[in-house]
Amino acid sequence: MGRPRQFEERGAVAAASAVFCQRGYASTSVDHLVDATGVHRGSLYGVFGSKHGLFLRVLDAVDAHDSSSAERLDVILVGLLELAPTDPRVRERITGLLEAHDITAEHLGSRLLARAGLSDERLPDEKEST
């Protein structure tokens, strides 16, 4: 109804992405998503269909080139760990992301260690070039 839903959605997806990265998929409740996005529960269900639908949108959003590579890797790691083993749609999207952004097992491993504070933040190919 005249609302610029496009913008609202983009902001909501970005806020949801941050929550999923911080808490993981299973530990993120709809209450957390309502709080973080500022979108009413009814609208979240109406627009995204489910928490799962919102996570798929987050995976699509980190495909965009303006999203940071750390965030992209974090979202992929959450998806790989919690959903991909049993979820064909998440597996398919992650396969696409890995190919499109040339993400290797080493990138994922380094990011995992960096998140835990066990190594520096730089990615392997950035180290090579320095």
Partner: protein, 120 residues
Amino acid sequence: MSSNRVTVTPEHLVVEPVGLTKLWSFTRRLQFPLEHVRGATFDPGMRDEPKGWRGPGLGLPGRLSGTFHADGKKQFWNISGYERAIVITLDAAEKFDRLVITVDDPDQVVDSVNSALGAP
């Protein structure tokens, strides 16, 4: 103890209210083609959502059965305790846009619904 049995077949999602809720909800069985199902979410927070107006059905604290009307759409609620409540969203082809139901094993039901939707 659950109030609903949810079955996912290769083509359909079937929701069957169990026991007395079958009477109160005036519903024996709901069946939806999978292509009309948008997704499922474990959501105990539905406890605090506005339910809209009821008809027909029953409402007691923590127990809720029947058809509710909100936002110009119908929702089917069959709840006995929100700690195992799930929300299933349906597309515009269905008369309900949402089902809010209690199940025995929310994680298992939610995963089986969402995985079935992505199956080739």
